[in-house]
Amino acid sequence: MQTAVASGASDDRDIIGLLRAGERERAFAQLLERYEGKIFRLCCALLRDRAQAEDVTQESLIRIWKALDRYDERAALSTWIYAISRNRCLSALERKRTLESLADGEVAAAVEQVAATDAEPPAAEQSELLRELVDLLPERLRRTLLLFYYEGRSTAEVAQMLGCPEGTVKTHLFRARAALAEQLRRRGLDDPQLWLESDR
């Protein structure tokens, strides 16, 4: 797991090299290629709203471009990029909270409607149920679990994206799985075959 991030950081040497050579445009093009997907997935996990995640991803990338000259290599490039993206997400969440607190049910309903429109078409029943259960998890567990599977089960990558220790990610994952298993037990759906069968 550590290796994934370590290789990621070493891959960023090319971008840092371009920055040192003053080739900002080329460095940003490489950065865009490598990180746009990761930033988008991070935004999706943090914001729960695909349309908003798209806007915030764009906003984050523009921020990164503007601040690229000031990157001083004190932190890994990926850490720096994720920190900017997380901050943009937090600002967006703050704006959304203000909007929801100002509005009566109308705006909140509209926001939910947007989220619903963006959702993928209903898949298998089990997957749908699992998705609902994941959505019911406490926020920090939910976003950790989402990013873990989005990023190919890399706890190190998730830790870097969320800006927390890897141990915390592992604890959150353990708690999230335990909570999901408990919910399945309560619903009498804890037969492993049930979940393996739907895999076929």
């Binding site: 865009l32 746009e36 997907g37 988008f40 997935r41 999706c44 695909r50 995640a53 798209e54 991803t57 764009q58 990338l61 523009i62 471009w65 503007k66 898949a123 089990q126 997957s127 699992l130 998705r131 994941v134 679990l145 989402l146 599977y149 989005y150 990023e151 089960r153 799985r177 999901l180 298993a181 399945l184 804890d190 037969d191 492993p192 075959q193 049930l194 979940w195 393996l196 739907s198 895999d199």
Partner: protein, 137 residues
């Protein structure tokens, strides 16, 4: 491994597989990169414009400050020169007029000189005040 532990472990594995199947990464929005690049192009243009305006305003401000500084120094020099000139002129005038004043006013000469100086000062102050008032809107 006991039966319940084995089932537990199997459930975990099955859940992990089901989660991996369900929580697939969202597809990147179509045209996101193009939109970012377009926004950056717009932003770069407006940034450059902003920097030009900012640089111009800063340059103008620097020039105005320098001009104010120069005016202040000029004013101080002029004031000093006026004071020295006035002192010399007064001294010369008094030196020239003293014999005549002594003959005419006797022991009151110092009072007459002080009174004359005071009147001249008041007249000068009134003239300056009048000039300043005429400058106001």
């Amino acid at each position: 491994m006991s039966g319940s532990e084995r089932i537990e472990s199997e459930l975990e594995r099955a859940l992990d597989a089901a989660l991996a199947r369900t929580l697939t990464p969202p597809a990147l929005p179509i045209g996101l990169r193009a939109r970012v690049q377009a926004a950056l192009a717009r932003g770069t243009d407006s940034d450059a414009e902003l920097w030009t305006v900012r640089a111009r305003i800063e340059r103008e401000q620097r020039e105005q400050l320098a001009e104010l500084e120069r005016s202040y120094v000029r004013l101080r020099r002029r004031t000093l020169a006026t004071l020295i000139g006035a002192a010399f002129a007064s001294g010369t005038a008094v030196a020239l007029l003293l014999p005549w004043l002594t003959l005419r006013f006797g022991t009151y000469t110092p009072l007459v000189l002080a009174g004359g100086g005071a009147v001249a000062g008041l007249v000068l102050a009134a003239a300056i005040l009048r000039e300043r008032r005429s400058l106001q809107f």
